[in-house]
Symmetry: none
Subunit: 210 residues, 4 copies
């Protein structure tokens, strides 16, 4: 739940050969600077300075400022998907399944709120980032949740006739809204957000039951 991005590792010593270390430092600080200033207002110069290396590297390694944002976004979602699919065991009840899913989203959203702010702010405007963001934010999560719900449906805990794809999409959207909008953008306290999520999970579970 801590914001690990606020104080990235210092980059490699000046002049030393360390491509990987510099790429990492650049991406880490990009997250910070982008989130402090917004994508447009952030300057490649500041990112490079704080990462402790030369501006040109941003262009050499990532193909410029837009490439850097894309790289940050990608890296973030890669690690998150792994985390989602690996880290969450199946739950015994639908309600518990939904609660876990929402809590996970809420916590993860908080962890990298910095990156999410920039990404969303940009996605709303730039269709390229928008598409990418949708894929990242939604697709993997909806797939995951649909599979879980379908399994519960198969086990007879959800009534037949409901399309789990649609339900999963809707619930995933709700979770995203809680995690990002309510919590990050509108700054509601996490406990409140989570409690709302639990309430709604209960209602939904009851509504889904046979």
């Amino acid at each position: 739940m801590t914001e690990n991005a606020e104080t990235p590792q210092a980059g490699p010593e000046r002049g030393r050969h360390d491509k990987l270390g510099r790429q990492r430092a650049l991406m880490d600080w990009a997250k910070v600077v982008f989130s402090e200033r917004g994508y447009d207002t952030a300057t490649t110069r500041e990112i490079a300075q704080r990462a402790g290396c030369s501006e040109g590297l941003i262009h050499r390694y990532f193909g410029g400022k837009p490439g850097l944002l894309a790289a940050v976004l990608q890296q973030r979602e890669l690690s998150r998907t792994v985390d989602l699919t690996a880290g969450m065991p199946r739950q015994a009840t639908v309600e518990e399944e939904l609660v876990r899913f929402m809590e996970w989203e809420i916590e993860k959203s908080w962890d990298d709120r910095a990156t999410m702010r920039v990404t969303v702010s940009r996605a709303v405007i730039d269709p390229i980032i928008g598409d990418r963001a949708r894929e990242f934010f939604q697709a993997t999560r909806v797939d995951f949740l649909r599979e879980r719900l379908a399994w519960h449906q198969g086990e007879g805990r959800i009534r037949k006739g409901l399309d789990m794809g649609v339900v999963a999409a809707a619930i995933s959207g709700f979770a995203f809204n809680s995690g990002f909008f309510a919590q990050v953008a509108f700054q509601e306290p996490q406990e409140l957000v989570k409690s709302e999520a639990r309430t709604i999970a209960a209602v939904l579970a009851r509504g889904l039951a046979p």
Copy 2:
């Protein structure tokens, strides 16, 4: 459902003295341009050109680009709560109530997509705008919905013991997500979004029932 903001009135004839007409044209086109390009990427030149007047006026009237954004953001707050309370009669069932509420949100979000893009894109980054946006996007709607749900609860159509404030907040968040994110930002077709909303409304209504 038509986008009234995409083609604002052309401003007053060039060179004519018409302060009010020019201010309106400038603000109308600012919404469009800000929403098309984002605040930073938008240029005062383009706004002025499309509004049919000179760049200098943006500074004279609004104190520059930030002032213009502020004016746009502020103006919007006036007009919306009205139609919400006025235009929507109480419904006989909870499901119908939720369906209406969500559809209204989805349609309004579409009509207003230009302004919403600007606002959200900024709100996500700038906490001050974020606060204002929350109040506007959420508070009024949550109040409205809570009152409605409480009424249904009083009528015995929703089981006791549930906090309608929490439920209303959650549902309102979901509606916002459908209307703005799914539909506007991620460009899903309105019919799909609405159909998802109806499905989830049914599930929720069932979950709320005594």
Copy 3:
């Protein structure tokens, strides 16, 4: 025969509104700076500074550095063509016609050697400028000379059966070589160049005679 481009008029007073004056100053100083440093090495900053106005104007008025070069080139050739066709009366003999033509080319090349240096240096490499330069350098002059020679041929001073188009092209090329290459690039003294031209004109006239 003086190089008028070396000390252009000072541009308009700073801040004054004078679009035309600034365009002129910019073009005048572009000639100088381009010729002093070469196209690539010249900087828009220096051009603007010496012209006494802001860098942005180069982009607003001419569409950037390449546009500025093109503008300079065009203006120069425009005035030259007028000069050529207006200023040269028909001569009584073929030899005199050729001598006059060559001397004109040699003198004009010297007058704006600065611009020619840049243009040629660039034309050799950049096909766009190359094509344009060929048109300017050759087409108008070849047309002019062909017409003159055809007239002499009609008068019986040149033998039938020779294609005046081919002859004109060749002679024009030779003149260009004398005026620019020998004189400007290779720095041979003008008198020597002219005397060579006169000699060859005599030989050619004799060779063309019936």
Copy 4:
């Protein structure tokens, strides 16, 4: 007539120690890249990449980009006068002599167009290179042609009283113009250029005859 410079030998295998091979590869590709892009626009990176070795070597071997250009420019001076005098037997008529000379120039210019582009593009701007270029392009050829013409004059095929030095200089200039400018810079088809040259050779021969 084939362009041997356009596809130089690939350099030595990567990482192998082969100083001489690398120097040659670097110079060969420098000619090509300089001529394709011009000196300033060419990048050491591209040259090194195409030569198949690392950028650093350009600095180690040649002392940087300017040094590489100097090396290219210098190397060329060695090889050309030889084939001129060796390869061309005396002709029986003046016209044939001129035709041969011009055709030789046109063909050589084409073969060497890469180097010529670089050289001319620089010579036009840089007086030092200009001087060297004149010596090379002109002096040797003028000497050669003067000797030939003087011989024809001695044989009574050219009228007395004409200064063969002046005539040779003029004709050599004309040949240079055809070979380089018309053909290489302005991209006229070689056959057209040659045919023009033949026409003018006939006219000149006739003009020179006693």
